[in-house]
Symmetry: C2
Subunit: 508 residues, 2 copies
């Protein structure tokens, strides 16, 4: 596929139309007030600056720890369509990792809905507007009872942050006389966002580079590792976390978990895992939060939410990235009981950009695209196709591909140094990413505590042809590896894993 | 003014254009892939549902503490243009309070820029794109040295939350051997956002209804009250806060203040106030954060940032609401030194929606609108006109208008029970709001610790005619007040102020 003809939405002020009551007076000789014209410059004005110049300007005026993909040779992208991204020269990159542009880059249906709204009204949720309630109803209909009450926000971070505030209110309401400080439980290697509170909830951050170590009120369940058969018993992990909190004089107000662990390494939870954890957590008085910021909205194919794969009903579901296809929106859905516990003390809640008119309008357009283009079904079938092809690839390279796992279009490929030790191979994962990008224009990324798991989570309009392009690229890179390359990558991986393990131990 | 002809941006999939290299093949008989059509339904589909039905649906599925304006009789708004909002019947409301739709509701230039970007590309900031660096350069050019490094986020809350993280990193870098816990100083009645951390920074929230009281690490400077001649010495307030922190075993890492206090009651800081505070805070090792989420971007007329009125240079400037004219964007600008302190430990920073392609594109369009339409000058001149007319109104009603103050289009009108006691009159402020809305379709709001200060902060394209409409409405409401009405409102106000004062004392 190549990108469609570029368009430019223009406004012609001299053609402004007067509108009053039922009579219309054209002020500008019949010209429409707003017009679309072809963008003759092709890639638009972004092509005017060279990639190198942009990089230098960025170094001067943009926060240095705002990392680029492929730091050594970052990509300059000016156009997107479906699962493809284009640089100023028109080179087409296959995007296998963007889970924000969920229904496709520059999706015209979503863009049209938002554009119309922006030309009409985009104000805050303190006024009544049908789009907000329609979106709330649509989201409630997608959730099991009693998840019926929506709060809209602008980022997944804000959603998880608010979930914590609601959990604290619920804990206070349930046991007003219990004065123990409120603690929280999370799963190891989790990432839940970038606010101060969310950093605390994210072992991925506080055990990662520059991390400050475990905050005393945060208790960590070990990350299940199905491939290596470790930490599979959720209930046992939950009991240990609860005991640790109580020994420290606290009580756990909330348990946060992604329903499929993203930063943990595309980990599919063992069947019954969340059920076991939820049971223990609820017995201890905690609220159970399902973070669906990455895995929700039909990506897993079989179900709309990934928590449904576990057969549980969370107390709060947080969502983000895919819901707006790029519009910065997010939210949470909870029960009337928790919403009431949060509201009863009398503090108002308001988020300026959360639920501004264009946000629910955009959200409805995304839901319509998923429904009308049968994208959840597509995630299921193309995801299954990907897994088949990746399992074939694994059969050809059992020495370096330890595991292929996934649900729908949320897939992990675990790179190892050798099948006996099953040791993580971050160096091979990095090699694969870099060569797929440089030689095949296929964009992949890696996750997991040692960055050894290749992640695949493209826009869910991913096609079988695109899956072929992706797997063929990986196959070509792996086929080109000589035994001495593999030995070299394995050695580099061992050193890297050792260093990371030491940091993890230090920052516990 | 009446709203321009409504437009609908449509996508015609059957007319999709194939584009490859230099040759173009039309797949759909010459039709453009994207088309604009008049929206024949007038107000659009939002008009289909009745206001009452929307309200009932909202009660069922939207968080109950997400408050509406004018709760008893909320507004159903379907269209906006400039400073005007329209309900489904076409009634025109004058919006004197929306400081997000900064350059005007549904600004066509901004809408066109964003729409074009949405049809082209809207992905995250991990790829190079010219819009991001161009926006960073534009923002740096608007700031005094050394404020040169931009971080983009999706809300003012996130910006203040990140400012705290940067301040903590700076404190750790400056005094790595000082193990005292990090504390923070804020001004009384301040609101800095809705994340868990920002609630801590906001006496407006933790002293307000449902508040949990002052967190131990937060120290509060009294809110200067120029009208009553109280707490005018910033340096003295700062010294007391620092001493309180040190007595509690902490050290202050950051001082947060809006440059004009919004929730505090549209308070203009006394000349030299911030200079005095900054001097003390910096001597104690704290970073000074100017929260310009409400007062920045030319609203104050004389300068682009409100902190410039105080002649200080903050260490971090946070911004939000107006910068995106409704697109959920925000950010902060800091010095290379602080950005380096934040980055050096090695933790990456990433915010999915912060700096996604459409955000800086939108931000540039907003800056262009301010520049090309001379809106900062407009804020200065129309703001001055408003103040003149409001001072005339005060001269006619010295018994109930205690103070009229403002800079540009950030204006406060302090309602009192009588000029001798200067006692706050929340009941009169509420009466004024409700009658202006119901009888004149003029939208006002109130601020201040006792909600007795009418706030005026409209889109900065506000005209003198609109200022007349606003002041005439207020004049009519005040003229209609009989002496017994005033006595009744004064009595209600006294009871209300008493109750709020007791809550403030309890939640200290």
């Amino acid at each position: 596929m190549s990108p469609r003809d570029p368009v430019r939405v223009e406004w012609a002020p001299e053609a402004a139309v007067e509108f009053s009551g039922s009579s219309q007076k054209q002020a500008g000789a019949g010209k429409p007030a707003v017009a679309l014209t072809a963008d003759a410059s092709g890639a638009g004005r972004a092509a005017a600056a060279t990639t190198q110049a942009i990089l230098e300007r960025r170094r001067k005026h943009v926060g240095p720890n705002l990392a680029l993909f492929f730091q050594e040779e970052p990509l300059h992208i000016v156009r997107g369509q479906g699962c493809e991204l284009f640089d100023p020269e028109g080179n087409c990159y296959l995007d296998c990792i963007n889970n924000v542009s969920h229904v496709g880059h520059a999706h015209p249906g979503v863009a049209a809905a938002v554009s119309t709204q922006l030309f009409t009204l985009n104000t805050n949720s303190r006024y009544l507007h049908e789009a907000y309630v329609e979106y709330a109803e649509a989201m409630a209909a997608l959730c099991p009872d009693p998840l019926q009450v929506l709060y809209m926000l602008t980022s997944g971070s804000e959603a998880n942050d608010l979930a914590w505030r609601i959990a604290c209110a619920a804990a206070a309401a349930a046991n007003p006389d219990d004065s123990r400080p409120l603690h929280v439980a999370v799963v190891d290697h989790a990432y839940h966002g970038h606010t101060s509170l969310c950093i605390d909830l994210s072992p991925y951050k506080w055990k990662g580079p520059g991390g400050g170590g475990r905050p005393a009120y945060v208790h960590v369940l070990p990350c299940p590792d199905v491939y290596r058969g470790q930490h599979l018993d959720g209930a046992a992990g939950a009991r240990a976390a609860i005991a640790e909190a109580e020994a420290a004089g606290g009580r756990i107000a909330a348990f946060f978990s992604e329903s499929i662990l993203s930063c943990g390494g595309q980990v599919l939870l063992p069947l019954g895992y969340l059920e076991g954890v939820y049971q223990e957590m609820r017995a201890a008085g905690a609220v159970c939060v399902a973070d669906e910021v990455q895995c929700g909205f039909g990506r897993v194919g079989r179900t709309f939410w990934a928590f449904e794969l576990q057969g549980v009903v969370p107390d709060i579901v947080t969502f983000g990235k895919p819901c707006g296809n790029g519009w910065p929106m997010a939210g949470l859905i909870t029960s009337p009981r928790l919403a009431e516990a949060f509201s009863a003390p009398g503090m108002e809640f308001f988020a300026t950009g959360g639920g501004c008119t264009a946000a629910p309008t955009c959200g409805l357009a995304v839901l319509a695209a998923i429904r009308e283009e049968r994208l959840q079904d597509n995630a299921a079938s193309v995801g299954a196709y990907c897994l088949r092809r990746l399992h074939q690839l694994q059969a050809q390279h059992p020495d370096v591909i330890g595991d292929v796992r996934g649900e729908g279009l949320m897939i992990g490929i675990e790179m190892i140094t050798d099948p006996q030790s099953k040791a993580h191979s971050p160096a091979l994962a990095r090699h694969l990413k870099l060569r797929c990008k440089a030689d095949h224009r296929v964009l992949l990324s890696s996750e997991g505590p040692f960055a050894s798991v290749i992640k695949v989570k493209p826009p869910i309009c991913f096609t079988e042809q695109q899956a072929d392009r992706m797997v063929d690229a990986m196959a070509a890179v792996l086929a080109a590896l000589a035994p001495e390359d593999k030995a070299c990558l394995a050695e580099a991986s061992r050193a890297e894993v050792q260093a990371v393990s030491e940091r993890h131990a230090r920052l516990w």
